[in-house]
Homo-oligomer: 340 residues x 4
């Protein structure tokens, strides 16, 4: 991700000043390319003159400490997701940060996808009235490697966490309960690796809004990333992205095709490439305005918590209450039990 | 529905011979129009010479007895849904009919909608591999009158029963568990009348196939009747039906419309009109071939049972097992309890 | 077409009373089916008691005389297109009929296609402002038999005449010039039979409105029947008709298909079947209201005239003026020369 | 355009070394931004050490001399369109350049639009058989200023030249005749400024391929840039580009909208922005490979010539033969006469 962010930064008013990577060669190469300095420690890189903000794109288990370090030295931070390697660590960091949690930008890039954001803006404008139902489709185009799945914590924590964040963001209201289920139906080895490849969840908010989440670790027709927001005055759909607007009219491969659109963007840097650039732009704006982060450690913690609850719901075969009040107390206990 | 069916029969090899309606005037008027005879009792109408098959389109609570009568006199029957006024009556009729249950045609008209059926045929052909996920959208265009809702038994029994039948039909496999939830979010009076206007369910089969059902008693953009069948080699969508293929390209009502399709077919006789004609055609074929009914009392009973289970799941806030073995024994007890 | 019309009549307030066919067996069979009488001569059929209106669906060269006969006996008439077997005969009939020409309904069925008519209504409503450009695509799904092409008078007279009528109808203004061209590029035998299989025309009205017409005797993707009406405030498209709203999402036959719609309706009775029913309905309304025909002998003559001019333009490789004033005088001479 | 090209160059293996602009301040500002040197004359900029290739984005009447200068000093050149300020100057330059004409890259950017290019590649792959018909829609979203129109040479030379280039490129065959017409129907002042705002042309190749061109200087629904290529085995459409894949389902502005796509990209840098980047990439490849330019002075001359012929056809109200052999002899005379 460092290369992706570096490219995005070039198109903003920001400049890369210093870099740190435990593999020094990487940092040096990138430093040379962008005209920055590379350092032997994160601390030195943070303290380098001219640094206003840092971006953390390191291994997950190192995120929390880099966030602490940056905050200690008074720098703004954008941290790649997941916030930490597990829920307990996230909870601990959230507590430590206190009010500062609102200022740490958490990189939920899908909020910056132009289509999803346009949907969100139009929902906010009141164009479709009050949104009462959300249907989110989240299907990856290809199965990841087995090692990835084994280290992922399972589909509810790894993939569905994006859908939980989108649900909270679009409804503008916290879900209060979740029922989640799943199975391994596409590739046996996913089940042998301890995960589902087909998962589902239903969430409900206190006011009765319902979200349906439909996911799979593989999709026969490409990267399926759709959101339907059903309001009282209309429905908005953020649809999938074809590679081009070229369409074939013809009998095609089956005797039943009249016209066929172009294939979907498959690789995540094609499908969500723009979102990374927009996210960096938003972070630069936040830093320049000295403003709170619109998506922050609290959001990261909350979606992680729902991911834990989903995992527990799946295992216990029953819905789980998402009690906001108990988020940092009872809930932790409950989730601890679920994880055990 | 009698008029709708009469119109459909004209386009088949069948002919209307006799008619019965407790309101004799209705039967006489229709008899005159189609060149048939009207009778003072159902029994006489059934026994009228030349009658091979009868169609029951009377009040729900009368269905069971007319089915019994027709079967007793050796006639083929097509019965409008619901099979009976409640699950217990359906169970009793099913037991009485024994093997004959397979020969009574139950009018689940959505199976005969040209789009839904084309999807089903293409699924059966193997074109999209093995279908693992189903997403069914079922939103009515308008709220029904309050009296209708009060007598409907609730949205799970009244509307969602169609989605249960579609799920069983397309998967070709029985669901083994259901979790259902709902709320009243569109119109307060629906809740005051004891019903939800926004409902959701997740069903799972023994092999791990998942169905998402998304419903509402009202829709901002028309009669929303979509089915997505996700297979291992492709996905098939039976999409909504616009009134025409005329499209407006222009700025339209908002500053964000490029092209707008024509409005959806709204009234059920527009949207599902063809399904009624195709259903009658299928019934006539079954009678002429002296074959079992492709959708029958067993299907009616099974979907009714899932509707009972959905209602219970909603009330008890937990998933319900749909044990096929116990359908006529324990399940009845369970559902009895749920209904209490 | 007799069977098609008979079926359509059943759904109106009209009834078939009498029939005539030189092949008496045909008329007798249909008479039996619909409960009408068949006669040994057209005159007897026309004079049969109860007859208010007649429909002419006989061979083209017989149309004119049957129209004369019906008009002489004071009956309303609907005549299949083409009005006559050539332009001179049409001109002669038009002159003879005088004011009565406006009362003879000419069966340009495409005006009654639900999509095309909806476009026309929305154009008339002012929704897209003033329509300045029309693009008409008219491609047949299959090549007709060689004998048909040899007797057709060529694609400009045979197929493009429909597009001329649509142009006049939608613009509500007469074209004043035409340039037409064509070639044989799809199947050599069409050229050997003396026709083009790929034709084009540009028409302009006095106020500067332009129509592009794009035609072919065969289409690789089905029956291509599109109209684009570009107005000052929007554009309306009457798009092609898929067989269903089922869509396949998948890699399909090429590596570039994401979603594929269902195939187009191919056979003209599928694609334009509804137009025949609507046309009969309209005729019945006209007869009951004793009104002028909304599409009549004048329209038939005018489109035939443009077809003659198109043929001449193609042969002479230059645009032809369509002088309204000279329609029945100089123009006839000009077209006569062109035909020579 | 200098800024657009400079941005595009950054994403290639090329580097900007030297700059010249008669307004020295502009060149100095850009030079500073990109780390290049600015010069007081074009000659100095061309001769600056390290320069392999130059890009001409100056006023049209200066193009020819800069091309000559660059060629004289052995540099590769990419020249913005139009090649020169009129046809005679283009013809003269073409003659002077001789074989070198093939090496001068002419910036017909639409060939590098990802959608149009994907269509072209798929046509070349044989996927749709042999392409026999082309329909090109070219409508600008907004009227340009009056001064622009007065200096444009008219819509046939200014806008339609793009469609002529696309026609030649996609057919891979020269048109041999053209008929063009036009009118002023959208805004009176365009006619007062001596131009049409609605234009049409039909082109035919020696083998009978037909191109329909439909243009307007303004469009009610945005930047309308579509190409339909009808082949013997299928049709390919390069469709318009919506701003996003967000769709509104709802009653919308009229009572006839079911779903509405997002608005089209309007500004040319949005719609064709990617084409400029791809074009620069292609030029860099050509320079590095020391290859002929895939779109060159011959293409520029040929499209300019067809633009002259179109203008003449419009004025003379007759089709014009596009005799390839006479391109540099008789044709020049003919066009000279037409322009007079």
């Amino acid at each position: 991700m460092a290369g992706v962010h570096a490219q995005a930064i070039r198109q903003t008013r920001a400049r890369i000043v210093s870099l740190f990577d435990p593999k020094r060669g990487n940092a040096e190469a990138l430093a040379k390319e962008v005209g920055a300095r590379s350092f032997a420690s994160a601390e030195e890189a943070i303290l380098c003159p001219g640094v206003d903000a840092i971006i953390i794109a390191s291994a997950s288990h190192t995120h929390a400490n880099y966030v602490r370090l940056a905050v200690r030295y008074g720098k703004r931070v954008m941290c790649e997701k997941p916030l930490t390697e597990n829920y307990e660590a996230a909870l601990e960091l959230h507590r430590e940060l206190g009010e500062e949690a609102k200022r740490v930008f958490l990189a939920f890039n899908r909020r910056y996808d132009p289509g999803h954001r346009r949907l969100w803006e139009r929902v906010r404008s009141g164009e479709v009235g009050d949104v009462k139902q959300l249907v989110i489709h989240n299907r990856d185009p290809f199965l990841p490697p087995r090692a990835y799945i084994e280290g992922s914590g399972g589909q509810f924590r790894d993939m569905m966490v994006h859908s939980f964040d989108l649900t909270r963001w679009i409804f503008g209201e916290e879900p209060v309960s979740i029922f989640a289920t799943g199975a391994c139906v596409f590739e046996d080895w996913v089940g042998q690796a301890g995960d589902c490849d087909s998962t589902a969840a239903l969430l409900m908010t206190a006011s009765g809004k319902i979200a349906w989440i439909a996911e799979a670790r593989v999709s026969s027709f490409g990267y399926d990333q759709r959101i339907e927001a059903h309001g009282t005055k209309g429905m908005l759909l953020s649809d999938n992205l074809p590679q081009s607007q070229v369409k074939l009219f013809g009998p095609g491969g089956t005797d039943a095709s009249y016209y066929a659109t172009d294939a979907l963007k498959l690789f995540f840097l094609d499908r969500y490439g723009e979102s990374y650039a927009k996210e960096i732009e938003a972070f630069v704006e936040v830093v320049l305005a000295d403003a709170d982060a619109p998506v922050n450690v609290h959001d990261g913690l909350r979606s992680t918590y729902i991911g834990e609850a989903a995992t527990r719901s799946f295992k216990a075969k029953r819905p789980i209450e998402l009690n906001d009040q108990s988020l940092f107390a009872d809930a932790a206990g409950e989730v601890g039990a679920a994880a055990g």
